[in-house]
Symmetry: C2
């Protein structure tokens, strides 16, 4: 269950949101790859084993999309978000293989109100995903816009 | 049809690879969002219109995945690629709405052989996608590893 209705003020520097677990399946790796990234190592176990990745492995874009879903399920779905302008950094550090179980975290590293839109604040996160062997498979930094909490007693 | 079998040497600085066209549909925007980014503005026209995005709009991760597929179809599928370590920058600059037609380009901005792996070179690209109104909707910078062309007459 996602945390209910977070506002900008809830994203205090240092706060950590847990992500996952999410276990990948060969079927979903292949389905994503057929549509978006049909390279051999993402389409069959044999081709994956023959590559430097060592087995059927998720497209980096698939890992990123699974990471988005983990954020939704942890804290974003009911948050008062105004979206993200993009990604500052996305590192795919190790292969994500079929059957791997991913867990991770989003840590707030900065938070400031916008000057141009005083009811919105920008929160910067450092995100990490690791596999069941404790290896970091993905690291990312990005910023998300959230609404400030309404002031019920504002003059 | 993708260009056949490109090696590192084919990615000369300044070379431009055309991307697209790709027209988005409401069905695929909703299907992607249901699995990876189930926020209201990605799930219905009504919620999209009520948001700052102005209509049913693709998740930024969906735009990124469509962009991957455009690279595959333009030059990556048969290239002698060793994969990408990640993304330096990904900017989602304008909403991608249902029915938008995306075109774009990948421009080589740098290319250098790796010191640690002399048969591999690293190519840096600047990528852009625009909609049918000529607005830039996505900009990205990343690097991809490619094999050097085998030297048939090597001593």
């Amino acid at each position: 269950m996602p945390l209910p209705g977070l506002y900008f003020e809830d994203f205090t520097v240092g706060r950590v949101f847990e992500l996952g677990p999410k276990t990948t399946t060969p079927e979903e790796i292949i389905e994503f790859a057929r549509e978006f990234d049909p390279q051999p190592m993402h389409l069959s176990e044999a081709a994956g084993k023959a590559s430097i990745l060592g087995g059927l492995s998720a497209s980096g874009w698939h890992t990123s999309a699974m990471f988005m879903r983990m954020m939704i399920d942890s804290y974003l779905l009911d948050a008062h978000s105004e979206g993200a302008p993009g990604i500052d950094t996305m590192e795919w550090k190790k292969p994500v293989l079929a059957g791997d179980t991913l867990t991770g975290s989003s840590t707030v590293t900065a938070a400031r109100p916008m000057r141009s839109r005083p009811h919105i604040g920008i929160v910067t996160f450092e995100h990490r995903l690791e596999n069941q062997r404790g290896e970091t498979v993905m690291r990312s930094v990005n910023s998300v816009m959230f609404r400030l909490r309404p002031q019920e007693n504002a003059a």
